[in-house]
């Protein structure tokens, strides 16, 4: 397949991805407005960051007056899955792919763009991924900008309803693996329970820990629960393997 055709296919497949982004990035815009971003700033931040949980966490850290170290740690933790994804991508490039293409493709990884890229058989054609992002990223940014603009003039009831769009997306990411993997299920349940017990609306007050910022609690709970899960039930080796055998023909 030539590069131009791959790019056009990417544009085509990017459209449904961008449409799905729209509602979620709109609710991200509502949070960005609380942080004081203008529509253009929100558009640019979203186009360059392209992360739902990551941006949400970043904005929450600004709202919480977190330290820069906390902000970096939370960004790392909420986006750690991208390291897994781009590690998988690194196994799927043909040997002749120059480093700058590898870097640009990895830079564009979101849950959906990674999924569409890795789902194609054979070696990665960077232009396909560029096509996906060329459509999806501006829609992600536009949704954020519209959230900032319209979030303020919309009725409080509508803002309240849209503010759960992002959580809806998080739920849709964590529930399917919980259904198939008992350890993920228990980890998620532990996450719900412990974050409730450490939250502001908790019936308990735990010395020191209850006073920490929301971001720090997220880090601590993630490290503790994920470590426990990794010790109790290590992931079998074949779980994360990617097929590299079919790459030669198309490269």
């Amino acid at each position: 397949m030539n590069k131009k055709q791959a790019f056009l296919n990417g544009l085509r497949d990017g459209l449904p991805i961008g449409t799905g982004y729209f509602a979620v990035s709109f609710s991200l815009g509502i949070i960005a407005k609380k942080v004081g971003l203008t529509p253009i700033e929100g558009f640019l931040t979203s186009v360059f960051a392209r992360a739902s949980a990551g941006e949400y966490a970043g904005y929450s850290m600004i709202l919480a007056h977190a330290t820069l170290v906390e902000t970096i740690l939370v960004c790392i933790i909420t986006n750690a899955r991208y390291m897994l994804m781009t590690t998988a991508l690194s196994q799927r490039f043909s040997d002749s792919t120059p480093l700058f293409h590898r870097i640009f493709v990895a830079f564009q990884a979101t849950d959906e763009i990674f999924g569409a890229t890795i789902a194609r058989p054979g070696s990665i054609i960077p232009q396909y991924t560029y096509g996906l992002t060329a459509v999806a990223a501006p829609m992600w940014g536009l949704g954020t900008a519209l959230g900032i603009i319209a979030g303020g003039v919309m009725p409080a009831r509508a803002v309240s309803a849209l503010s759960v769009a992002l959580y809806g997306m998080f739920i849709a990411i964590i529930v399917p693996p919980s259904k198939h993997d008992r350890t993920v299920f228990l980890s998620v349940a532990a996450g719900f329970l412990l974050s409730y017990l450490l939250s502001d609306i908790s019936p308990l007050t735990i010395p020191f820990i209850s006073d920490l910022s929301a971001g720090t609690k997220t880090i601590i709970l993630t490290m503790v629960i994920s470590s426990a899960a990794a010790i109790i039930h290590p992931v079998p080796d074949n779980e994360q393997k990617t097929d590299t055998s079919s790459g030669a023909a198309e490269a």
């Binding site: 799905g20 390291m83 991508l89 629960i225 990794a230």
Partner: protein, 100 residues
């Protein structure tokens, strides 16, 4: 309070580096079983911790938030994707807040 642009720049650079580092540094699959397993569980645990109880605190009525969480879980359990689950959660809050 620190300038918001400092936060935004740090956020964009950190998220970008996380994506790019593996393809520049790691040329082979990670061998360490604990790190692999830990990284496997991290995204789900983080999202769970960030979702609850935050979803209950985000809505005007905590009850609407709680019901929307349950509906979202049920919808995702039965195989609906990111977009439909999101829409269902929003619709539940919108409708319930007429009554509570």
């Amino acid at each position: 309070m620190m300038n918001k642009y400092v936060y935004l720049a740090i956020m964009i650079v950190t998220i970008g580096l996380i994506r790019v580092l593996p393809v520049t540094l790691i040329r082979k699959q990670i061998k360490n079983k604990f790190i692999k397993s830990f990284l496997y569980y991290v995204p789900y645990v983080t999202l769970a911790v960030m979702t609850f109880p935050a979803i209950v605190e985000a809505t005007s009525s905590p009850i609407a938030g709680a019901v929307s969480l349950v509906c979202g879980i049920v919808a995702a359990w039965f195989g609906l994707g990111l977009f439909p689950v999101s829409v269902i959660c929003c619709a539940v809050v919108f409708i319930l807040e007429f009554f509570v």
